[in-house]
Amino acid sequence: LTTLYVEPPSEARDAPPPQPLTPGSGRPSSELKEVVIRHRIQRWIRIPEVQVGLVAALLSIAAFAYYAHAGLLFAYPDAVSHFMIARRVSVSRTPGLAQFGTSWLPLTHALMLPLVWVDVLWRDGLAGSLPSMVAYVVAGIYMFRLGKLVLKSDVGGYLAALALALNPSLIYLQATAMSETDLITCTVILTFYLVRWTQDESWSDLIKCAAACCAATLIRYDGWALTAAAAIVVMYTTYRRHGWIRARAAALLFGLLGFAGCVGWSVYNQVFFNSALGFLTGPYSVRHQGQHLETEFGLATHYNLLLSTHSYAQAVVDNVGLLVVVAAGAGLVIHLVGRSRTRLATCVLLAPFAFNVLSLYLGINVLRTPEITGPGQTPTYANGRYALEMLPAVALFLAIALTRLLHSARARLRTQVAVASIATGLLLVFAIPQVLQNSSYALQDPLHGQSPIESEVQVGTYLHQHAAGQSILISYSPFAPAIFFANLPDHAFVTDNDTVPFHTALTHPNSVEWIVVDPQSDSYDPVWSGLQPGWQQRFVLVATYATARIYQRIT
């Protein structure tokens, strides 16, 4: 006791003793309450995760307000399609789970479900953006935790979190209904728990990692690769440390939950669409789109490993900046040659690179950058945002490079903070102009790419002006944004997601007043291909926007 006892400062000794609280002395004064609350807030605000979360939340809200004001929340047609799916599940001619469809994985849409019911939130896009914004904040917090865990320093954690949160492309995407932010969040969370599991081997960490993997597998197919990589780490690590029996048990505990999303998705496809691999082979699958693109434009990366790797690497550089990529590469090398027990687990962050390069090589995906353009081709940014999935890896390895540099220079804490501040400043210098000039890489595809949303807006506006109160045969596949922008009641549309009425309308086009088709759609248009020959005799073409055509029934 004597060694622990510290003499109070003299002013404290001289101060009058505090008045004891006696029963019946009344409730605490409002002043006291205020002091207690202030004290709690001060204590709370000192928690690094809270600081990171608050900064990320402020960034997120500011970005949403900015992009909403600039009218860019719906720049990606896919963003509109995402929350249209959520809307269909809850409000449509035939609501239900089948409306999730087969092409996109369902979790992003499922997260929007509680919000799309509210008409205001749906119309202004917040219903689609809010889950993504929350994911962004969570990603920032977990990136801090991951950096701190790997580097054993708060400075490392802050650097990693800022490198992630200040990326201009992510700042844009998190304000929209796109699914990339959700996947990045899951990537960071699963890596954090995997790394922590390799350190303390807590089963609960392994389950949390598996849960994050499960979520990732239900957001984007890249999540499947992440989960496979994590499974390999789990098996290998346990086998090396404890042998086969424990490795089998750990693999089971991880795999059952981690891959539940993959199995569940296949079962869903089988139950609702009679094909367990419908997401891979169906008419709306990425593979089908890849075949279409190959036919139309040629896929240069198909069976070209070097070009596939080059394309994806170039997209990573375009998304995060060359200097940052070089520094992160150095961090990766430093990390791999070190003795950290976390080396293998952190390498899971590299899985999206392998997955994307492989999918480009196999021709089931397309990604183009303006730097790599074939002879006679116009520069495009198609799917360049896919490279953003490498952002958690870049953020962590950048933090490793900077922290190790400071550590080897034996910098004091003050110097470390100063260097971290300079690095943050540089990131801000890189980020702010891109945000304010709308020049972030993720925005280039919708603004200057091959799938602009203008024609969708025009189709929607036309329908709003001319087709109110009448039924419209249209497909969600190419026209989800147009349906949204038409701002008509959900039941006005007869779509491919309403199986029975849709097929009735295809065979009896007279049951609808309007037909909208896109004969040259990048994706499959089931209206165009499903209508009975001769239908055009009863309809007249009244408007054409880009490749979209609007027909009205002859009365």
């Binding site: 089963w203 048990a249 089971l252 505990l253 059952l256 939950l257 079962v267």
Partner: protein, 479 residues
Amino acid sequence: MQTFGELPAITQALPAVQDDGQRWTRWGAAEHGAKEGMGSMATALLFLGAALLLAFTLLVPQAIVIVELALITLVYLLAGGQKLASLIRGMQVVPGQVTADPPDPLPFYSVLVPLHHEQAILPVLVKRLSALDYPVDRLEILLLVEEDDRETRWALGNIDLPDQFHVVVAPAGKPTTKPRALNVGLAHALGVYCVVYDAEDRPEPDQLKKAVARFAQADSKVVCLQARLGIYNTDQSWLTRLFSLDYLIWFHALLPGLDLVPLGGTSNHVRTRALRQLGGWDPYNVTEDADLGVRIARAGLSIGLLDSTTWEEAVPSPLAWLRQRSRWVKGYLQTYLVHMRNPLKTLKDLGIGQFVTFQGAIGASMLTLLINPLMWALTITYFIAKGTSTGAGIEALFPTPVYYGALLCLVIGNFLYVYLLVYTAIRYGMERLAHYALLGPLYWALMSVGAWMGLIDLIIHPHRWALTRHGVSPEAVSA
């Protein structure tokens, strides 16, 4: 076949039960228990209701079946949710940890061991129970043998029993059940506390001391402590492995999460006086332990868990397992029917929380076991006949909310149970069995077969005790 002539004199037989003791042998808890319960008006009405429901289902299929399926789905959702919540809650705690030394001097302790055709295992039993770390002058081990069980009595006459062992012969009579024998033993028990062990049990040697210490530190309302049960012949067959997992999840995860403990089989340590006041065991109930658990709760008393394990034998063959399981289900059904004769009284006695647990852990768990095969058959038929008129007919039975509820139970519910089984195996040191958890659905299918056997047996032979043969594993007959 061995024949028995004049039985050898048993050296440590206790005198015949006195008149006042007859109460235990004749009545026990039966005056409030299964015999009356099974014959009561309420039970008759329950069976009548079930028969009417069946008749209506056959006569007016669709409307009635839709309502039934909706109710069944609701039961699945509520009972499944309650079970999952209990499992997760139970995993948060290590129950019944003993933090104090037992009092000195130690109180007198009675160990009750009912025997029925257990002659083969007897020498090992004596050796195992002799290993109990408890002063022999403070301990009595009462071997309870039926008067007409000549084989066991013969074996008892030919064995040298240590001083703490005594033989009690239960007079011939009906019903010939374990609880009736226990009631006879209870009449003789001199201990402040008593515990029940089965013939093949291998309790941890310090279990009695732990129980005494735990009773000393527990509230006086805690009248019973349930020790964990484990399996010592785990690796004998696939069934014993699954049985081990079943016990693991039941005793490590589920029981600690329940606020009403249906006592399990053996190793129930009880304050003898309280047990007598409760009326002993119900001789007509074939899971007298589960019934006693409910009666303790209804009396406003409580059951604690003891951080000690009794190892016992799992039946290795499916047929014997089914017989045992059918008895358990039969007993649970008896318990449910007895305590639901007057639901309002039971609700008043237990309070809302425990009443809900009673409904979920005893009522709904048996109901779902019985219904599972029907639902599985419906699901399989649907997938086979999808796209045909039969498939459409099944679809029509599931309105959207019922369909999604049933889907949730089928997919998420079953997945979570399998996953928790894997986790339990790993967490509680049986990681070598983790992959057997994947056979969980097969085990549940067997449980349903046992449940139907139990229900049929309940109707045909309400009070017959289907004896489980012990000593069939090598571990059971080695000390």
